[in-house]
């Protein structure tokens, strides 16, 4: 009864559904290099080779990936580490399997002409900051630097009109995306990583539910292995996958695909991944994130760090 009811509600609410037998991997944005490896698994037949029939589903602004995976609409989904912690503290049983970005690619972009050298400079003089205010990192920045001198406005989600027309404007961005577009407008951007301020959750994290993981241990292991191989391959040669993704997302041009794939490399491959493998996570970073989110009062109940992720060791 409960399954039928929630299934009904979910399909009504989300109008998305998983086809029987194939495994659905739900992304939270359009096909872009930040998901390159997930598509390489499809393009190079890596999923298939491991006996998996995986469908990679693009998302959009506000695709509720946490809710979708928790409700069983999709089997695997891409979220960020803070979403995992928030979900767990609300009793939603999602578990991280693989973290693409070791360094959070979110940043703040403003005009280079303003001469800022540190992320803290943005908050020291009057200006406009476009940012989705409820985001945990926005709360972190507010607590650390204070928004007193700034006018906070909603994020334009990639639109650069305001950036081009106002010289005291700063905006939230993915360092692998907006700055590349900004460069083309002729207004030289300067980008600061949020991670430099001390808030650095894993981003583009592959998750599933604890329940699903329990009954599909073997499949999940194969997914992680495939995804790791696919990401390694994508980092070495992103071109074939980029061509495939561009067919799905024709608004992004070939050069931007290539530039973005190049720009994200150092955020994915770090000293840590050289020993532990791409996508690996540590207990300490999850615990730190939980402490930060509790400190910001984003969560009331602290989930256990060890429940947030499952380490699938490199073979």
């Amino acid at each position: 009864m409960s399954k039928i009811l929630s299934g009904l509600v979910v399909s009504l609410l989300l109008a998305g559904s998983a086809v029987a037998d194939s495994i659905t991997l739900q992304l939270n944005w359009k096909p872009e290099p930040q998901f390159g490896g997930f598509y390489t698994g499809q393009v190079d037949g890596i999923y298939q080779k491991n006996g998996l029939d995986v469908r990679v589903e693009p998302g959009g602004a506000g695709t509720p990936t946490v809710q979708m995976v928790a409700a069983g609409n999709v089997h695997y989904a891409v979220v960020s580490a803070d979403e995992v912690v928030i979900a767990r503290s609300r009793g939603i049983d999602v578990v991280a399997l693989f973290a693409v970005y070791q360094t959070n690619p979110q940043g703040i972009m403003t005009r280079a002409a303003r001469g800022f050298t540190d992320i803290g400079d943005i908050f020291k003089q009057p200006g406009i900051l476009a940012m989705q205010k409820g985001l945990p990192y926005a709360l972190f920045l507010e607590k650390k630097y204070g928004f007193g001198k700034l006018q906070i406005v909603p994020s334009p989600f990639g639109d650069l009109t305001a950036y081009r027309t106002r010289d005291n404007y700063a905006m939230q961005c993915f360092v692998t995306s907006e700055p590349l577009a900004a460069q083309k407008t002729g207004v030289e951007p300067k980008t600061f990583l949020i991670a430099d301020s001390g808030y650095n959750p894993y981003t583009t994290v592959l998750v599933t539910t604890g329940d699903y993981l329990k009954s599909h241990q073997d499949e999940a292991g194969k997914i992680v292995t495939s995804v790791r191989d696919a990401w390694t391959k994508y980092l070495a040669d992103p071109k074939p996958t980029n061509e495939f993704m561009q067919k799905l997302n024709p608004t992004m041009d070939t050069q931007t695909f290539a530039d973005s794939a190049e720009a994200q490399k150092p955020l994915i491959e770090t000293e840590e991944t050289k020993t532990n493998g791409i996508g690996s996570m540590t207990m300490k970073r999850w615990a730190d994130l939980i402490d930060q989110l509790a400190d910001l009062k984003v969560i009331e109940k602290k989930p256990e760090a060890k429940d947030c992720f499952v380490e699938m060791k490199k073979e």
């Binding site: 809710q67 609300r90 939603i92 989705q132 409820g134 928004f147 909603p154």
Partner: protein, 262 residues
């Protein structure tokens, strides 16, 4: 008294049943609360101490979400009421004018505000001006279309009578055509009142402030209860605005038009 009871009882009964049912399916665990926040959680979100649904936030001059949305939706609605009637008068004044402009009036009905929002922000400025403009754009078309329909449907016999007495444009318009178009005008305003609230909230997604900002803030924190609370407030706001139009309509039409007579 009896009439009041008849007016209030069915909707209240309906609301109670829906709330009880929603509460039950969640409490029983049939539907998870992150998919459907139960009414008790929504109530808690509404009455939370210091919530930005009521209290000011950094986004908008320290006034609460509901107050900000209400003000901007109302001002946007006012603009579309005045502007819409003026445009309808213009369209009805001459067949050529109508042919030239009417297709473009449709633009207001179809324009996806989200798509032009970044420009709206640049043209109007962050905060209230953008929100008011969005509310006006979203709600002006029904006013134009309905008022225009009323204006061109004036009883031909009465028009002939006015012509016979050599009445000028001014008296024909304000003593005959506009009054006889009032029932249509109010229909347009009723539709516009609800649309202005939607337009305002969409405007707030990009311009900032109000219930739109509260929703945007609640989203990344998985606060669905708060999002629903904001939706409840937005619906109530729409209800109040439509009721205001109904009261106005009753005052204007009760003496002569069948729709407002018992």
């Amino acid at each position: 008294m009896r009439r009041l009871l008849f007016n209030l009882l069915p909707p209240l009964l309906m609301a109670s049943i829906v709330c009880l049912a929603a509460e039950l399916v969640v409490r029983r665990g049939w539907i998870a609360d992150y998919l459907l926040p139960p009414p008790s959680q929504i109530w808690k979100a509404l009455t939370e101490a210091g919530t930005d649904l009521w209290r000011g936030s950094a986004f908008d001059n320290k006034i609460g979400g509901l107050a900000a949305t209400a003000r901007n939706a109302f001002e946007g609605f006012l603009a579309s009421a005045i502007g819409g009637v003026a445009i309808a008068l213009l369209l009805a004044s001459n067949r050529w004018v109508k042919q030239a402009f009417y297709p473009y009036a449709v633009f207001f009905q179809t324009v996806p505000i989200i798509a032009i929002a970044p420009m709206l922000v640049i043209w109007c400025g962050f905060g209230s001006p953008t929100v008011r403009a969005a509310a006006c754009i979203a709600s002006i078309f029904p006013v134009i279309a309905n008022t225009y329909a009323g204006l061109i449907a004036t009883d031909p016999a009465l028009r002939d009578l006015f012509r016979l007495y050599k009445a000028g444009w001014f008296s024909t318009t304000f003593k005959l055509r506009l009054p006889s178009a009032l029932p249509n005008l109010f229909t347009g305003l009723r539709i516009a009142a609800g649309l202005a609230v939607i337009g305002a909230i969409v405007g707030e997604f990009v311009g900032g402030g109000g219930l739109g900002a509260v929703i945007e803030t609640a989203k990344p924190q998985l606060r669905n209860d708060k999002i629903f609370a904001a939706v409840v407030l937005a619906s109530l706001l729409g209800l109040v605005m439509v009721s205001l139009v109904n009261v106005l309509s009753w005052f204007a039409l009760r003496r002569w038009h069948a729709s407002e007579r018992k």
